[in-house]
């Protein structure tokens, strides 16, 4: 069950490279302030940054929703954009459709999705070509990890 107090919603603008990274930085600050384990915070920061950047690089507009659940953290990044025709292919390290101007800015190595997979405990992607993409990540906090191990 989600408690409203433990949820945050942010908007992400496509192609706005100046503000890119702000939303994931906010997520990071909140978790740091709440005293989450530093390594956990770092994993969340990296995963949410990659998801945010994919909206900035590849889509038109999106939102990031994150929620602190009793045993885990949930991050949902939704966008309106071209969608991903072949998710399995997109997941492969090094696969990227980023145009040259985005590559010039240091993105488009095709590492984002695999980076998310590495850092999140669960990664679900649902995408409709021509409409948009939903990326959901679940990160179990270190305490619950120990508990379940």
């Amino acid at each position: 069950m989600e408690k409203k107090e433990l949820m945050w919603d942010y908007e992400i603008e496509g192609k706005d490279f100046r503000n890119a990274g702000r939303v994931s930085s906010k997520v990071k600050d909140i978790l740091k302030e709440l005293g989450f384990d530093p390594d956990f915070v770092r994993r969340v920061a990296i995963a949410s940054y990659e998801a945010e950047m994919n909206v900035v690089c590849h889509a038109d507009k999106g939102t990031l929703h994150f929620a602190i659940l009793p045993q885990a953290l949930q991050i949902v990044v939704k966008d309106r954009g071209p969608g991903i025709p072949d998710i399995e292919l997109a997941m492969q390290e090094g696969y990227s459709t980023a145009p040259p101007e985005i590559r010039e800015m240091g993105f488009g190595a095709g590492m984002g999705l695999s980076n998310m997979k590495k850092n999140a405990d669960e990664l679900h992607i649902v995408s409709t070509v021509g409409q948009g993409t939903v990326v959901e990540m679940v990160m179990r906090s270190p305490r619950s990890r120990q508990g379940s191990a």
């Binding site: 107090e5 994931s24 302030e33 709440l34 005293g35 920061a45």
Partner: protein
């Protein structure tokens, strides 16, 4: 009255509560309380920036002075390489060391020799280093503390090679006591420092049980005497031995300069030199966010231009940097340090911290109950939005966000904000007016 915060002291008779220090502190460690500056020590990184920005010179730091020399049978001074940049004109480094010795020390050993050793040790360490990246320089203790407090998970990425001055002290301590036939307690080793951060790093060392150094002395404290002694130097003895490689550590980039040639750094990644706390925070933040990638090594210095900009130096930092650079050009790279010997000792573990650094995260911790903490956080954000956002400092906190933090934690009242206070007064005045309109029904109505 003087109030102490570890090695830092604020002279409250001089402090005017002007907010300059509070606004300049990059870690938001200062508050103004009842008209005087106070330091929140678990936020302070001992950079000394506030010393320079206080117009009243009310903030200082000190651990030892020349009067402490008399407690030892034999005394040695290890001057920070910044000393070569501090005296006007083209003073010969060797003359400066002779003058320093004349202040009452029995011997002088340069920190720069330790820097040369540290440099070789770091090169060796890099050979086997596999990550995580970036590796972060350990030479600025203020930056180390910033990482412990604000970027705790980077603590393991700090280069575990000891401070150059500690290396020198370790090199000479035992041998010198033996040579002189005195106990190690009778031997006093003092480190002449450019900053409070190094004072803390030595006197409250966290990387070993006990420092090899007995005390620290500020360059600024002995500056006048050193100038006078310099005029008196007649005969010079050869004290200056370090090469450009070690002296260069006084300025930003001096460390990386020795790592770049011969591919000690891999070169397929970037390495960064960053100076100033604000810039260092920005770079570390961007690395943490995943925005800056592929960085192999960071040399970060709290002071602009490097240690020549330290809070306990005297000369202008830009002039000082120029002087060091000139010395680097005029001094050869030929070194008295025996590379093979350093490599051998490195393999024996001689240069490493004895104890690992620990993270010291400073989470504001609004509440121990996470649910309540989040609630408070949201209230805090609402308060923040309701404030004028001028970051004027009149409330005694460095900015509106920090003020909202203090309010929600009960450390400040909303009316400490003069704008909120004025709103309150206005509301009150209106209420008073309404009361003034009212008349007892026993009296005739107005206007008659």
């Amino acid at each position: 009255m003087k109030r102490s915060y570890g090695i830092i002291t604020i002279d409250e008779d001089k402090c005017q509560g002007c907010v300059n220090c509070m606004m300049s502190c990059r870690t938001e460690a200062i508050r103004i309380f009842e008209g005087k500056a106070r330091i929140v020590t678990n936020r302070c990184i001992y950079c000394g920036k506030c010393f320079r920005d206080c117009p009243e010179h009310a903030i200082t730091s000190r651990t030892h002075g020349l009067e402490d020399l008399k407690n030892f049978k034999y005394t040695i001074v290890i001057p920070s390489s910044t000393i070569y940049s501090q005296l006007p004109g083209e003073r010969e480094p060797n003359r400066i060391l002779c003058a320093l010795k004349a202040l009452g020390f029995d011997h002088v050993y340069e920190e720069a020799i330790g820097a040369e050793e540290a440099s070789i040790a770091t090169q060796e360490y890099l050979k086997g280093y596999q990550g995580p990246y970036p590796l972060i320089s350990s030479l600025c203790p203020a930056i180390i503390r910033l990482i412990q407090i604000r970027f705790p998970h980077f603590v393991d990425q700090i280069n575990p090679i000891d401070l150059p001055a500690e290396i020198v002290a370790k090199d000479i301590r035992k041998a010198k006591a033996k040579e002189l036939g005195i106990t190690q307690e009778e031997l006093g080793i003092f480190y002449l420092v450019p900053c409070p951060a190094k004072m803390v790093a030595v006197t409250k060392t966290e990387t070993k049980e006990r420092s090899f150094i007995d005390g620290t002395i500020s360059i600024a404290d002995i500056y006048g005497e050193l100038m006078a002694a310099l005029r008196e130097v007649r005969e010079e003895e050869g004290l200056q031995k370090a090469s450009s490689a070690g002296i260069g550590w006084a300025v930003k980039g001096g460390e990386i300069r020795e790592l770049e040639p011969r591919r000690w750094l891999r070169g397929d990644k970037e390495s960064i030199v960053v100076d100033g706390i604000k810039n260092a925070i920005k770079v570390l933040d961007e690395i943490e966010n995943g925005k800056l990638r592929n960085i192999e090594f960071i040399e970060a210095r709290a002071c602009p231009e490097g240690c020549v900009g330290g809070a306990l130096t005297v000369a202008d930092r830009y002039v000082s940097r120029g002087r060091i650079r000139k010395l680097m050009l005029s001094h050869g790279s030929e070194s008295v340090v025996d590379r093979a010997e350093v490599v051998k000792r490195f393999k024996e573990g001689y240069y490493f911290f004895e104890k690992g650094l620990k993270p010291k995260p400073f989470a504001v911790r609004l509440d121990t109950d996470p649910l309540k903490a989040v609630e408070k956080m949201k209230v805090r954000d609402e308060i923040h939005v309701s404030l004028p956002g001028l970051d004027c400092g009149a409330c005694g906190t460095p900015n509106c966000r920090a003020f909202a933090d203090d309010v929600v934690q009960g450390k400040a009242e909303i009316t400490d904000c003069i704008f909120k206070w004025r709103e309150g007064v206005k509301d009150l005045a209106q209420e008073v007016m309404q009361w003034a309109e009212k008349r007892p029904h026993s009296l005739p109505k107005r206007g008659r």
